[in-house]
Symmetry: C2
Subunit: 462 residues, 2 copies
């Protein structure tokens, strides 16, 4: 039994796990034991289910006090009405940390809300720590632990911590993030927040050395002043990016029944986020783009942006977006102008944004901007018609030769300034650019987000 019920550590690093409500029929309680076995937790796994007989070749236990050793984390999958009984059993013999992955509480109406209130009382009385209900729990990439079946690709360790109020949404993020090259440290879905809430997790992830940036999907806060305090304390240590739904009255009603919380007024949230120095994302894609940038790039120490592109149009769109974010177009140094002009064809304008067109000067221009004392941060928008790539690749003229090895160019310039790459075009082109950017240079799918990402790096406190 864990002797520090206050800590959240057993949620992420359990020494032994009880699945309470394992099932013999296909469904969540059936697949989860197999998944945890595959993840290497088989020797610490106990299945609890009232009907006797083996499951997946493992013994099952009718009661928690029959386990050969006490578990320090319980994953609860029983029908909602059976939850109080499970809480009482846990109070007697452990575990003291529980993730309620079942649904049927406040999100379903007054009856469920009454059940949730009763459980909350018991959790407090027994001194348990509970995540959920109506959630899918946690992911920790460091030990490859997850309390819901996830695709293996999302378990590549990274620096982004995720707190999501909704279970399904959390799961979708985990599906999507590997493709967007957002690598996570830990992820938690908090559901109805019977006990552990976003503030507890902000505190926890703020102290987590594996987490460099915290992202939060919030429908409504449980406690506004406490959220402000937790955000302030977290942003003093690392950036926090928030996606908040329930901005409108109808949106609020939508979330009210979804995780049983009431969204507050949007203006208040806006003020709280601003006061706390948190960054608000306007969409899911922007949340990803900001997370990826903040997890990999250094701070921006001035507002002068250099843009290199092979599309004048996208250069213009990005400069517009920079100005919207309070950034300015850097005036290129004489050295940069001379260096780029040296190899450039006559038709090429050497100014900012630096539109190299089909000159093949992308890598020279990128390197020059990264080394220009007048430039604080760089946005690169490499585009080449894919028909050209398809024709030239067999002749050995690869995207890397055309555009340059972007991550290497950034590293050669000392990684001192942030570099953000925006890419549009076919999936094949995006894939090639991602390969050139490696794991260290963020590749954003909306060029407009590049400006927003640099602004977030400028705003960053630490």
């Amino acid at each position: 039994m864990n002797r520090e019920p206050k800590t959240l550590r057993p949620f992420f690093e359990p020494r032994s796990i009880a699945i309470i409500g394992a099932r013999r029929k296909p469904g969540f309680g059936f697949g989860l034991p197999l998944f945890l076995e595959r993840q290497g937790f088989g020797s610490k796994l106990f299945l609890v289910t009232p009907t006797p007989g083996a499951l997946h070749g493992r013994p099952v236990y009718a009661k928690l006090d029959e386990l050969p050793e006490p578990a320090d984390l319980g994953l609860v999958l029983v029908p909602a009405p059976a939850t109080p009984e499970v809480l009482a059993a846990c109070a007697r013999s452990g575990p003291r940390h529980l993730i309620l992955e079942n649904a049927g509480f406040a999100e379903t109406g007054p009856e469920g809300a009454a059940l949730e209130d009763r459980c909350r009382g018991l959790v407090k009385e027994f001194g348990l720590r509970v995540i959920g209900p109506n959630c899918v729990g946690v992911v920790n990439t460091a030990n490859r632990f997850a309390t819901t079946e996830v695709i293996p690709e999302c378990l590549v360790p990274g620096a982004v911590g995720i707190i999501a109020q909704s279970g399904v949404f959390g799961n979708i993020l985990l599906d999507w993030l590997p493709e967007e090259r957002v690598r996570i440290s830990k992820a938690v879905t908090i559901g109805n927040r019977l006990d552990v809430d976003e503030c507890d997790l902000l505190d926890y992830l703020a102290e987590d050395p594996a987490t460099r940036v915290i992202t939060l999907y919030l429908e409504g806060a449980k406690d506004g002043p406490r959220l402000l305090a937790a955000l302030k304390s977290a942003t003093a240590k690392k950036p926090v990016v928030i996606l908040k739904s329930g901005r409108t009255e109808a949106g609020k009603r939508a979330t009210a029944s979804h995780t049983g919380s009431l969204s507050g007024e949007d203006e208040v949230y806006e003020a709280v986020f601003a006061q706390a120095g948190a960054i608000r994302a306007g969409s899911v894609q922007e949340l990803f783009d900001l997370a990826q940038t903040l997890a990999t790039q250094p701070r921006l120490f001035g507002n002068r942006v250099g843009v290199v592109t092979s599309s004048g149009s996208l250069g213009a769109l990005v400069i517009d977006a920079c100005l919207d974010q309070g950034l300015v177009a850097a005036t290129l140094s004489e050295e940069t102008v001379a260096r780029v002009r040296k190899e450039a064809p006559d038709w090429m304008n050497v100014k900012n944004p630096l539109d190299v067109g089909p000159s093949g000067q992308f890598k020279v221009a990128l390197s020059a901007l990264l080394n220009d004392a007048n430039v604080d941060g760089v946005i690169a928008i490499p585009v080449v018609p894919f028909s050209a790539i398809r024709s030239f690749e067999p002749l050995g003229l690869t995207a890397g030769l055309w555009i340059g090895e972007i991550q290497k160019i950034w590293e050669a310039a000392g990684r001192k300034k942030p570099l953000v790459v925006g890419v549009v075009g076919s999936a094949g082109w995006v894939e090639r650019i991602r390969a050139l950017c490696g794991e260290k240079v963020p590749v954003l799918r909306a060029p407009e987000h590049a400006a927003r990402a640099l602004q977030a790096l400028l705003k960053q406190k630490t």
Copy 2:
């Protein structure tokens, strides 16, 4: 020789083509003849180049008046300073329609601007019609004609017409659109607009029966009042969606040197677009999402939106976005509530947004919303954790069984109301949803854009 120099038709449906400035070395003038041959224009193709000898096994001609028959479209690839000479030759022996795909004009500075002015005078004097310079010309999917090498996937005929000021940008759109399932009718890049401009093309595409929606990427108008008139006249016939860069002063400077035009004040453009009833897109992705929706969906005749989803969070985000767009969340009819409740598990809330969670009721709910008299348009956001899809597909439980054959459900409901699908998640999931939506139901990558797309359908005049 074409006897109607006013018409733009030979640009899109040439009977014979002269490539003026074909080249023996790899590059644009080398690959284009091969591409046009592959597209089936080999028998109508003449190569003009001053140095004698065959090219790609074809005869070459030193001068335009040596062609065996006059061409009605000329693709000009000669160095910029040789352009006046080409124009004079065309005036003597045709063609009278030319696409200047060369660069080195106003976009490069005062010298180039003087050359461009001289050419403009000659074009007027000789009564030629010219697209460009500094562009890649046109695409017509009906006859698979294109004046730049494009990937074959973008030549699947569709209903979206594209006018883009920039050549590279136009090319990138052509690369990207097939994946986004935006099928085009005709596309034109107009470059420096020596003669043919966005207004001429708005007029042309407004009358083009293959084009159901016109999209325009604009850096700056040549003539504001004329643009207003052309937009008004076009929007009376079909929707026009505009992406405009150069919103800020720096963005304006960026475009000024790019295609040699000056952007006007953004407020004026905003007013012109609003007065003309054109729809302004905020980003490239939004342009695609709006085009795809307007090309496939019927008008929206009221502002009551029904949302079906398996993620309460995304439902809430979308309802927020709907309210932002002046739409409202429909109150579901008693029939819909009864129909959905009949099969729904106890935990499921039957209201709008209709979050079906993992109930498997997505298809029932979607069909009910499409048939609900209180609902004017429907947004569907199907999400399922991809780990579940991967596990269940081998057992025969496909995305189609889980979510429903979306296009078929829409068709069964009579295609009377717009349906827009928003999808997030892994590429594998997006691919499955696209398959379920076929070619008739738009699949938007940002759920927030679904609200914007419905608003565009509401605003549509025809």
